[in-house]
């Protein structure tokens, strides 16, 4: 009896501790030094046909149509370097100007190159996203990027396994984002370290693929090596008909049906969470684990047991300029960001658009919507979502990582407070001195209208 992780791991072991990689996703920030390393050592790319690249972290979202037109010199050099490297080594690339360009973790599933049973890596910690398809997917550093380019393999220590089983169903207005934020809050930012984590139970099975991706995406915020969800009809339906879907689809589905964890297989750690008890969540501090229900107040560090937690909480509140005991719903906002590899897929935009439809963004708030890919943008525009957002007063932008990490012109100014659908509320993450609160797309949309956080369940 084996877990899904065991099955994928064992079917990819080239030799002890050496794992074969089925798909390597590449972007401009963590790859230039790896390509330089290859050139220095006179090495080539072993399997360009299992490698794909896009430009996402650095790209402006203002409609700049080509790498050479990027105003910021360093960003331009980085994207142009990626384009040159891909050309030199024969790697397919969807750079600025391509209709397939987008956030690397959005375009993989969109093109159908993310499939069940695969091993997938990328020089980006949110690679865990692809585990939503029943793949083993994780982030790597630049030395490892070089290693995969040269060998199509990776030296890995076998992680431990964890299963988080969610009983019950999510309540109305409660989203996968809330489920994963609540989970990180419960387990802590280091709670999944060293583990490949399988999310299971009825609350997971009933989710769409985008919802599953949101959950696996944030696995890394609890330190998990990889997040995974068993493939099922929902998964197969997503992959079917995509550009890179298997030619013999039925045969592929047959293989994929053997992937889920066998009944009775054991995990190193088992966790049980009642999904029906989860509320809409908002982070208050500077790690994704510093999170409360929207109906709660800002916690009091003095009430915390461990001195280390107390100290971290005090420092976080000072950075966030928040007072203990303040109701979360009275926290006012300057900015709202809907986007990122966590929540920028068409379903996320539809949910946010449904909330803002016919309303206006509060006068004190600047709201931005950034589709995860050019394809998401095109679909949203066909459906008229861009008009819904624009007439509400949101900026409607081009695809990219945008304000999730502030490596491009989209950033918070010093002291600005933002409701963000992204994944990290670290100090300065969205801009030096910026204050980030992580929420679901619905909660972000409603917060933009009201100018402060609201409980989406009571809001109409």
């Amino acid at each position: 009896m084996k877990t899904m992780f065991d099955k994928i791991w064992e079917s990819h072991e080239v030799s002890d501790g050496l794992i074969y990689i089925d798909l390597h996703l590449v972007h401009e920030v963590t790859s230039p030094q790896a390509f330089d390393g290859l050139r220095l050592a006179g090495r080539g790319v072993r399997r360009a046909d299992k490698t794909i690249a896009t430009a996402d972290h650095n790209v402006p979202t203002d409609g700049t149509k080509a790498a050479r037109l990027i105003a910021d010199e360093l960003s331009r050099i980085q994207v142009e370097t990626l384009e040159r490297n891909c050309e030199e080594f024969g790697i397919p690339i969807y750079s600025l100007g391509s209709e397939r360009q987008g956030i690397v973790h959005v375009i993989g599933p969109e093109l159908g190159v993310t499939q069940p049973g695969m091993t997938i890596v990328c020089g980006d910690s949110h690679t865990s996203t692809h585990g939503a398809f029943g793949a083993l997917a994780f982030g790597i550093g630049t030395s490892e990027v070089e290693h995969v380019l040269a060998t199509q393999c990776l030296v890995q220590k076998r992680p431990k396994t964890m299963r988080i089983s969610y009983s019950g169903e999510l309540g109305a207005g409660v989203t996968p984002k809330d489920l994963i934020l609540a989970t990180i809050g419960r387990l802590g930012t280091g709670g999944m370290v060293g583990h490949a984590v399988e999310y299971a139970g009825p609350a997971i099975e009933s989710l769409s693929m985008p919802g599953r991706m949101t959950i696996c995406n944030m696995t890394i915020e609890a330190g998990g090596r990889a997040g995974m969800i068993a493939p099922d009809e929902t998964t197969f339906e997503w992959v079917h008909g995509r550009a890179s879907a298997p030619e013999d689809f039925e045969a592929a589905v047959e293989r994929w049906r053997a992937l889920p964890t066998d009944e009775g297989a054991s995990f190193d750690t088992e966790v049980e969470i009642d999904a029906s008890s989860i509320s809409p969540m908002v982070t208050w501090g500077t790690t994704p684990g510093m999170v409360v229900e929207v109906t709660d107040s800002i916690p009091d560090p003095a009430a915390m047991d461990s001195p280390a937690d107390r100290e971290s909480a005090q420092r976080a509140l000072s950075y966030m300029a928040l007072e203990p005991g303040t109701p979360m719903t009275s926290v006012a906002l300057d900015r709202v960001f809907i986007g990122s590899c966590t929540n920028s897929r068409i379903e996320d935009l539809r949910e946010a658009a449904a909330v803002v439809d016919g309303r206006k963004v509060a006068g004190s708030v600047r709201g931005m919507v950034v589709p995860g890919s050019q394809a998401v943008k095109a679909t949203a525009e066909e459906e008229g979502l861009d008009e819904v957002f624009r007439s509400a007063g949101f900026e409607w932008r081009e695809a990219g990582c945008s304000m999730c990490l502030g490596m491009n012109p989209d950033t918070l100014a010093e002291g600005e407070r933002c409701a963000s659908t992204s994944n990290r509320n670290f100090e300065g993450r969205q801009g030096k001195g910026g204050r980030t609160h992580l929420v679901s797309p619905k909660m972000a949309a409603a917060a933009a209208i009201e100018g402060r956080f609201v409980d989406i369940r009571d809001w109409s």
Binding site: I91, V113, A150, C153, S312, R424
Partner: protein, 187 residues
């Protein structure tokens, strides 16, 4: 990479939990396409605001879950370029730990109490082969995977080692197991 065997000298201390790689090397410095020169940007915001002071000693003692967040190897590059040869902490984020071992920056896990003792001692001697940290408070053991230790002690390039085993990769590919997946070049 440079072989490491014994690391000896003064200790710098950063007594904070959950220090993320965005703090270690803020995003504006990730736009460089080189691998060197990141040391001057280490903890850019914290050091410039006077929030922390760090001496470029051989050893850094840090808090739990050090290096969480982004997978950027620029973080270990910056720590090493700044002058650190080893980081001692009660726990590390997985990707950060792995990234350190690839460049010859030793990450070693000691208990909270042991980390505190090393910090208070102010200097220490780390023996990679023996897997020990010795300071005025005593001798503490840490663990490092045998193959990682072998690479660190000999300064070996991971890729070179794997390519010596290229026959096994050829054999794996020949089984057809690798050929079910998508072909990106056919897109």
């Amino acid at each position: 990479m440079r072989p490491i065997d014994v690391i000896e000298g003064k200790v710098s201390v950063l007594d904070r939990a959950d220090v993320d790689t965005d703090q270690i090397i803020p995003k504006q410095f990730l736009k460089r396409v080189e691998r060197t020169g990141f040391g001057e940007f280490l903890f850019y915001d914290w050091i410039r605001s006077g929030e922390i002071e760090l001496e470029p000693n051989p050893i850094l003692v840090a808090g739990r879950n050090f290096g969480c967040g982004s997978s950027r190897e620029h973080a270990p590059w910056a720590l090493q370029d700044f002058g650190f040869d080893a980081i001692l902490a009660p726990s590390f984020a997985d990707i950060f730990y792995s990234n350190c071992t690839k460049i010859g920056l030793l990450p070693a896990i000691l208990s909270e109490e042991q980390c505190r003792a090393v910090a208070e001692a102010g200097e220490a001697r780390i023996d990679v082969d023996d897997e020990t940290v010795t300071c005025a408070a005593g001798v503490f053991r840490f663990e490092v995977e045998p193959d990682v230790k072998h690479r660190l002690l000999n300064g070996l390039d991971d890729i070179g080692i794997t390519l010596e085993n290229a026959g096994a990769i050829d054999a794996f590919e020949a089984t057809g197991a690798a050929e079910h997946g998508p072909v990106t070049t056919a897109l």
